[in-house]
Amino acid sequence: MLQNMLIRWLVGYPKTAFCLCLLLVAITCSGLSKLWISIDYQVYYADDDPYRLALKNLESQYGKTQNAYLVIQHKDPKANAVTAEALQALHKLTESAWQIPFSQRVTSVTNYKFIQAKGDDIKVAPLLDNPSSLSATEIETALQRLQQEPAVNQLLLSNDKTMAAVSVGLHLPDNPIAETRQVTSFIRKLLADFEQRYPQLHFFASGSVFADEVFAVATEQDLLTLIPLSYGVLIIILVILLRSTRAMLLVLSIVTLSVTIAFGIKGWFNPVISPVTAFAPSMIMIIAVADCIHLLNGFMYHRRQSLSHSAAIIETLRLTSRPVILTSVTTIIGFLGMNFSSSPAFHDLGNVVAIGVGAALLLALVMLPAWLLIKPIPVSPKQSVVSRFMPYLAEKLTQHPYFFLAASLLFSLLLIVGISQNKINETFIAFFDNSFEFRQNAEAIDQHLTGLHRIDYILPAAKAEGIFQPSYLQSLASFSHWLRQQPEVAHVETYSDIIKRLNQALHGDNPAKYHIPEKAELIAQYQLLYELSLPYGHDLNNRISFNHDATRMTVRLWLTDSAAILAFDQRVQRWLAEQAPNIVKAQQNLPSDTQGIGIDMMFAHIALNNIPAMYYGTLVALFLISFIIIAALRSLKVGSLGMLTNLLPITMAFGLWGWLSGQVGLSISVVASLTLGLVVDDTVHLLHRYLHARRQQGLSPAAALSTTLASSGVAIVKTSIVLAASFAVLAASHYTPNAQLGLLTAITIIFALIIDLLLLPPLLFLLDQRITQPSVIKELEHASHS
């Protein structure tokens, strides 16, 4: 009743309805101005994420872990990067690096504080402070001595001397949006200037600020390329499907306004745009288009049945609004299911898209018909190819139901086997394809100099001042020794190396004395001697806690994936438990965990934690959607049949993914939840139409199937093509997680179409004919009574 009243009001006052919609858009879009793009990887983590807290705790004690890494290489990659000229450049670059905004520490071979002792004179000074004044042999000796320093080799100077680096520790404020860009653009300018001054040398940079920046660049690229691309694809497909430019423009406006409303509302509640949210406009557009197509398809169908213009609209709204509302609700539930993700960035994506789907529903049901009433569009009388193909398919399906059933089941089984190939894994560097400078630099550095991944271990001593205990330092020394033997490890920085080096220097530089002294007092006093000699930006505050109860060990790993990082960390835990029980015991008294700390650890854990979280999220969404569908179709059996066929395409897609890639990362882990609401739509339309034909029209199963495919089947094929093609466009993103998300979603939608056309109809047909006929008839009677 209510529905009829609303339709009558809409037909009576289309201009008012239209203006009300515009007013809504105007109100919400005021939130747009609040939006900003966050380049902080922290958007991926909840505030109480234990790994995030551990990093915060570490940074409060040892200083921020952000860094920049400036590298010098000869243009001829085999040539030495420490020639007299290159050293001069390095020296100048080191000096200039102090001018980088937010820099706190600057180290390179030219300012590395080398410990020397001559009798009772202690000198802690750079060996290559003024490289131009040194002879070739002096440089050679200095380099030889420097390369024996564990803190230099494979970090500031590569083993083969083809790359030298300036390591810059930065201290950026929290939420560094503008600051990161300020640092990276300063460095780019600096390096460009050096490239000009030293044409034989090649200068490039890496480090955490560049990693942060590349996320922002990827987000902007996606916003700038994917949205126009999505529009392009939509325009082409819409023109083909609707065969009317005006209808196409109408749909595009509705779609754009839906995105505007969603982001306007987002601006009021959560104005941060992360790389993941950058994906939302495309998604909303795609889903909104599907709604519009269903409505326009119905409208054109009725117009072709030679109904009058307004009668066709009334009829369309009467028949199509129910399934459109139903499918929108299921889609919204599917996207809201993303709130189960352990990453807030995906909550945000889910919520924005859910709002967008709601907005699209409203606009499609009110604005679209209102506009059609104000300014009618012409309808081509020709039927599309799809429409002509459907009766043929229906005939074949009813003739050989077993064949289709068996063939599609076999096909899906083959794919599903691939699920076992999937592993939870994420390769950070592969987030960015080769078009990113960041990836090229990181890989070049990884090949010659040192690894990109950094893991920190805080190793506490039993009590305050405990780090001076020889037993503690022995544990540190053997731990770092073991670490250096691990194949993943590129570099280890530890306090015990400094103490060993001091002991050697104070014993006439005797290499035999490169070990930990026997007395705590001696160690403490050596350290004091060393600390008093250190200038600004070279202190030990980033290595030892100020009450001397813990030290920090920094391990750099060669480029690898999250599974390898987690496996490495577990091996480390095992080694510590066996070989350094005193440290592990002291760790148990601390609030923080014993595990590795850092952004790389956070990344490694988030995919791992997200999968179970999304698994529950998807289950809850599935349960809710099933409930709604069963209630809406008023048939437990048909409803649950529909749900089963919806799980199949998702499982098949993950099976295919197993054969294709096998790496399930953070973004792939949300695909099931994301597609659930979408693939359900097709089934809902099909089943709705089928039951309508059986109940209201009283058709036989075969005839009902034929009508269903001829009407809803056509719409399903159209929307699936739109959805799959548009999601496939997202695969063009240079940011791999978004590209994979788009690709796998497109695959899932295609599989859903195949299942809905080839498996569901024969199954429905067979069950209806043989088993459920009495019950359907009972339902029929029940429905007609109510």
Binding site: D121, A464, E521, Q525, L528
Partner: protein, 288 residues
């Protein structure tokens, strides 16, 4: 004919306007250039004056301490980080006034336990690098530290060694920025720039009161001219009827959120200390 006349009339107006504009703008440029030279000359003069005044004030401040001969004080150092963790060290510091050279100072470490008895002797030199020796009781030896740079943090605190000791006037060049108010007192605001190229600071802003030339606040700027730290002095007391000393000084690091508090107690002046107590050869015996 009429048309041509009209055109030439318009052209004339056009040329007239153009030439007037050119004339006017060239006049403006030359006048402003003249004005600029005048102001830049004035500015140079003002700068020289500010530099002289600054140097005078610094010298006057230094003179306030003239004749203190020697001083002893106990220092409790409290280190705090942004999360509220805390560590303590304690030191005993003696300084000896030198007339022809920079002052000498002896810092004795009382805690942490493993560093107890370690003694740091510094001979400051106004024009050259300071000399420093450290006595290590565990080794029973005196080691000479020949680093040319004292800008690193002192025992993990927010103080650099150079922030803790009395500064030589000639370690810096000065500029008087303005008269200001500090702690409700009329004060000078000086800018001082370290002469040592290895210093961790590009400049410091120093507030000292006009009454007794006591320093109340110093802002430290790092090498890239960003504000790094602020040092506050609190509770000035006068000793030996002449010398003002604070009971607390607080160093806040604006970049890391860390903080170090120095609490001074037991100031003693004119204890009759001599260069013998501040000799590197006696360092071993001083600490017992």
């Amino acid at each position: 004919m009429h048309l041509i006349r009209k055109a030439s009339y318009q052209q004339a107006i056009y040329w007239l306007t153009l030439s007037l504009t050119v004339l006017a703008s060239s006049l403006t440029v030359s006048i402003s250039a003249l004005a600029a030279t005048a102001t830049s000359e004035q500015a140079t003069q003002a700068l020289t004056e500010a530099k002289q005044r600054g140097y005078e004030i610094a010298r006057l401040a230094d003179m306030q301490d003239l004749g203190y001969s020697d001083m002893q004080v106990n220092v409790k150092m409290i280190l705090l980080d942004a999360m509220g963790r805390r560590a303590e060290r304690s030191l005993a510091v003696s300084t000896l006034e030198m007339t022809k050279d920079g002052d000498r100072s002896l810092t004795l470490f009382l805690s942490p336990r493993d560093q107890k008895g370690t003694a740091l002797l510094t001979h400051a030199h106004p024009q050259a690098s300071d000399d420093q020796w450290l006595y290590l009781p565990a080794l029973r030896r005196v080691k000479r530290i020949t680093a040319h740079d004292r800008s690193g943090p002192f025992v993990g605190s927010e103080f650099a060694y150079e922030d803790m000791i009395r500064q030589e006037v000639d370690d810096y060049s000065y500029r008087l920025l303005k008269s200001a108010q500090i702690e409700g007192k009329p004060a000078w605001l000086l800018e001082r720039t370290p002469k040592d190229a290895h210093s961790g600071y590009s400049k410091q802003h120093v507030w000292l009161d006009k009454q007794a030339y006591r320093i109340w606040r110093i802002d430290f700027y790092d090498r890239k001219h960003s504000l790094l730290k602020t040092l506050f002095f609190e509770d000035y007391q006068q000793y030996a009827n002449a010398y003002w000393r604070p009971l607390r000084s607080i160093m806040e690091n604006h970049q890391t959120g860390k903080k170090t508090i120095l609490e001074y107690s037991g100031y003693h002046f004119k204890n009759g200390l001599t260069t013998t107590q501040f000799s590197q050869y006696q360092l071993r015996n001083q600490t017992h």
